[in-house]
């Protein structure tokens, strides 16, 4: 069975112009009101607003209904978590307001989407560091392959409030975390094709030390978008289309979104439809998603 990415949208520090991925210092928040009801957004943290915005954007032009909601987040709702913690510490555990606690769980975004979309279907949140997005992506494909539906919303989001920045600045990390690494990316994944479809050719997890071997057999047309934190592509003859993005916990999702733009651009401008590999992961394991314009 084939699976397709039919719509995609991000709030990302990367923008895509004329076949190039441009890295900006940080994200630019959109005018949420154009899509979201201001009353809905009252008391919502940035991660929720971003996640709802990209989700609603990909569903806006999607006439079909979705069968489930699959979310990923590395750190979850850190600003509401902090807000409740701070209150709890300052008030010595007395007379606390519940709202930030209610909105602090990792599945707040998926739950809120469930309510707004009145969707009673499959609903899950993956929160697994560098694999938060990939796990959610894989789950979306498995839901389709296993016949649990024909269309799923996949959203991954993270926020980096000042407090997280402050703390991370004090930590001596083996792999530095990109502090601008916040934003949201949404996709609709479907088993049916539409005019904007991009086909998911393959997805897998391989050992990080075997990435070179894996890429060796690629044909020279293929493009690689690398958001892996430690693996660096060697500029070999058969890899002349290399893009390396800086890394954060959500950049694998940005990488796939950039791959979607790239494949669209190459098809429209040059009529070419090469394989695009989006590579990410951690020191031990690498995730590879391969896509191609239909």
């Amino acid at each position: 069975m084939k699976t397709f990415i039919n719509h995609y949208k991000s709030i990302s520090r990367f923008t895509f112009q004329e076949g190039k991925i441009i890295e900006n210092p940080g994200i630019t928040e959109p005018e949420y009101e154009t899509i979201l009801d201001p009353r809905t957004m009252r008391r919502m943290s940035k991660i929720l607003k971003m996640g709802l915005y990209t989700s609603m954007s990909v569903l806006e032009n999607n006439s079909g209904t979705i069968d489930g909601i699959i979310c990923g987040t590395a750190l979850g709702c850190t600003s509401d978590t902090y807000s409740f913690l701070k209150n709890m510490i300052e008030r010595n555990e007395q007379l606390l307001t519940p709202t930030p606690f209610i909105q602090s769980t990792h599945n707040t975004l998926a739950g809120t989407l469930g309510i707004l979309l009145k969707n009673h279907g499959y609903n899950i949140t993956w929160s697994n560091r560098n694999f938060s997005f990939f796990d959610a992506f894989e789950d979306s494909i498995l839901q389709l392959e296993r016949g649990n539906g024909t269309s799923f919303l996949l959203t991954t989001a993270d926020e980096m409030p000042d407090i997280v920045n402050e703390i991370i600045n004090h930590i001596n990390l083996e792999i530095p975390v990109k502090l601008q690494g916040e934003g949201s990316v949404s996709f609709t994944l479907s088993s049916s094709i539409c005019p904007t479809s991009i086909e998911v050719i393959d997805y897998k997890v391989i050992s990080t030390e075997h990435i070179d071997d894996y890429l060796k057999d690629l044909n020279e047309e293929a493009h690689i978008i690398n958001t892996h934190p430690t693996f660096r592509l060697k500029p070999a003859a058969n890899h002349h289309n290399i893009l390396t993005l800086a890394w954060s916990m959500i950049d694998d999702a940005f990488g796939l979104e950039a791959g979607c733009h790239m494949t669209e651009y190459l098809a429209q401008k040059f009529g070419r439809r090469p394989l695009i590999l989006c590579l990410s992961g951690d020191r031990y394991q690498a995730s590879v998603i391969t896509i191609k314009k239909v």
Binding site: F84, L85, E93, P98, T105, G111, H120, Y122, I124
Partner: protein, 395 residues
């Protein structure tokens, strides 16, 4: 393709009832709960809000788990202890074993100290923050047990570990996974204790789930894990089959971030999907391990959902009256209890039950009893409307 059946060949648990499967069963059959005044966790709520606290310090948990280096969060220590027990029983091939871990508290038990010190401009051990996220548990546990396969982390609040068991079972059915360690853990911490308290759904006395006079829930802590594999794999290597994982349903209530809908539509759908996937009719279920938190809202909503599915409701009870609500761990803690019920033909009660809930057509029971058990339905519902149901079966 012949549909693979999924079996549990190992299980491990640590809860307020004790460390290990045997200690937990002993408490269950003797109707002995583990809810008490909080004495290990430093909190203002000590002496006010009772909880299913494990009376072991982090230091003691470190040596029990073997995770002695660094300041590993309690959630992960508890999980390591339960995984160790499950692995010792099943002895799967480690190199072909995937980890499906679930948590919602994660490392916040450390972060809450760290941020308190940070706010007071004391110099905390900032490095502890690398354990804050849910994925930290997956990473540390996979490395600790030298697991080389896929490693997942799910966080759907109180249904988290039900989802990790359900998803891993499906991966085994579809030939994607050889062995799975599936379950979850959550430790008591000030964050969740005060969070639930701010929602005014904690009982200051021992909780009375599924009772007309219920006053709320008691929090608990714990971890539980199953080792799962296909039936053919277990038979081939001669592993003892404890029970079958025969059904799984996941649905969303789509009603409110923390409250259940009046008719429990999410719960209904989750139970329905679980029954369908197990190809069972409701009258084949011998026992229901209810989500049964003890809140006014949950128990009524779940009850209405149950009676909308079951013409005759089988014996049903909430073992949260023993353990407290162990949040992300509750699905796997109750999976272990469900399997014990199947193995021993006994059903575990709702302690302290006196009065049936008005408006419900069924009630629960207050002490462990002998009962022929073939299929157990276990419910886990959470914040965000996340509802999951699992079915465990004898042969």
């Amino acid at each position: 393709m012949i549909r693979q059946r999924v079996v549990a060949t190992g299980m491990g648990i640590i809860s307020a009832l004790g460390n290990g499967v045997e200690a937990n069963r002993d408490a269950l059959i003797h109707n002995r709960h583990g809810i008490s005044d909080i004495s290990v966790l430093p909190t203002q709520q000590s002496g006010i809000l009772p909880a299913g606290e494990i009376k072991l310090t982090n230091h003691r948990l470190q040596s029990l788990s073997g995770l002695t280096s660094g300041n590993i969060p309690r959630t992960i220590l508890l999980s390591a202890i339960a995984i160790k027990e499950a692995l010792e029983q099943s002895k799967p091939e480690i190199k072909n074993t995937d980890l499906y871990y679930a948590t919602t508290v994660g490392g916040i038990s450390l972060s809450e100290d760290l941020i308190a010190q940070h706010l007071k401009s004391q110099e905390p051990d900032y490095d502890g923050f690398i354990y804050h996220d849910c994925g930290a548990g997956t990473a540390i546990l996979a490395n600790h047990f030298s697991l080389k396969g896929r490693r997942y982390a799910i966080s759907t609040a109180c249904s988290s570990s039900a989802n990790s068991i359900g998803r891993s079972a499906l991966d085994i059915i579809h030939g994607k996974c050889r062995y799975a360690i599936a379950g979850g853990g959550d430790a008591l911490c000030r964050f969740t204790l005060n969070g639930f308290n701010s929602l005014m759904i904690l009982d200051k006395q021992l909780c009375s789930p599924m009772d007309q006079n219920r006053r709320g829930l008691n929090l608990g802590e714990g971890a539980a894990f199953l080792v799962l594999e296909s039936e053919s794999n277990a038979l081939e290597r001669g592993a003892e089959i404890l029970a079958y994982v025969s059904g799984f349903g996941n649905a969303n209530d789509s009603h409110h971030q923390t409250a259940s809908s009046d008719d429990g539509i999410g719960a209904q759908l989750a139970m329905k999907k679980a029954l369908e996937s197990a190809a069972l009719s409701p009258d084949e279920i011998s026992y229901i391990n209810a989500h049964g938190t003890g809140t006014l809202n949950n128990d009524k909503s779940e009850g209405l959902a149950v009676q909308s599915i079951f013409d005759t409701v089988p014996p049903i009870a909430s073992t949260k009256s023993f353990t407290g609500h162990t949040l992300a761990a509750s699905g796997s803690v109750e999976a272990v209890f469900s399997i014990l019920a199947i193995q021993n033909n006994e059903i575990y009660p709702t302690l302290r039950f006196k009065n049936p809930i008005e408006g419900l057509l069924f009630s629960t029971f207050s002490s462990t009893r002998q009962h022929e058990v073939h299929h157990v339905l276990s419910n886990s519902f959470g914040f965000g409307g996340n509802c999951s149901s699992l079915i465990f079966s004898k042969k």
